[in-house]
């Protein structure tokens, strides 16, 4: 690798890394941490725990992609909390912001009832939709009210997967690992 390529790589890497915590920390400071609204930044951080190389690609991707404004992140968080604590399976909550041409929706899919200490008992699976300028993104998460400190769940292949986030009494896991 020649020196100009090396400098370009560091330039992109430095910009990507420096942009991540700022957007996320502002959302965190205001308690607007719905995983779907902050997904790209959270996913990049999550990747550092499970991938050797992929995380750099994800950091670069999240830095260049369009994201929700702080207000819209808070709106998505608002319906998420309303849904997780207050809605039954199959019900959904929505928000819309015509000013930014954005909207969001949370649909609770199911709640797992399971006895015993270990397992997914109490976890709620849900779909999260975010629309920015007519571009719709869909996310699927598993939110679990686990014991404090028990942050890892075993995925479908038997590997321990750390959650993306602990927030408002729930541990959030990307559902792709459990399919």
């Amino acid at each position: 690798m020649n020196s100009s390529k090396l400098i370009t790589f560091f330039f992109i890497f430095f910009l990507a890394v420096s942009c991540t915590p700022r957007s996320l920390s502002v959302a965190q400071k205001n308690a607007c941490m719905a995983p779907s609204a902050n997904f790209k930044a959270l996913d990049a951080i999550h990747s550092t725990k499970i991938h050797a190389i992929l995380w750099a690609k994800k950091f670069a991707k999240q830095a260049s992609s369009k994201e929700l404004s702080l207000s819209d992140k808070c709106r998505q968080t608002q319906i998420l909390i309303k849904a997780l604590y207050g809605l039954r399976d199959g019900e959904s909550a929505t928000w819309e912001n015509p000013q930014n041409n954005t909207s969001g929706k949370i649909k609770i899919l199911n709640t797992i009832v399971q006895t015993g200490i270990w397992g997914y008992g109490g976890c709620r699976d849900y779909l999260s939709y975010i629309k920015i300028d007519d571009k719709l993104e869909t996310f699927k998460f598993r939110a679990c009210p686990k014991e404090l400190g028990a942050f890892e769940l075993v995925d479908s292949a038997g590997f321990p997967i750390p959650g993306h986030l602990y927030f408002a009494g729930w541990y959030f896991y990307d559902y792709r690992f459990f399919e």
Binding site: S71, T111, A168, G169
Partner: protein, 72 residues
Amino acid sequence: MKKYIIIFLVFYLNSISALYAENSKQGKIDFDWFNSEEYKMIKKMHNCKVQYLDGSFGTCNPYNSYRNPNLR
């Protein structure tokens, strides 16, 4: 020379992006989020913990009881 310009640009862009983030509309919330029921719920549940008989700690999340149907 080219190298120095690139290094300067990296630091310059990094510093103005910080200023931009602080001053821009991105850092403001356009509705009464901090007085909403959901915000209060987040604050309450995020810091709340209960101690079980075995000494371990759990979240106050009511869905925790779905682990044990006797508690529901």
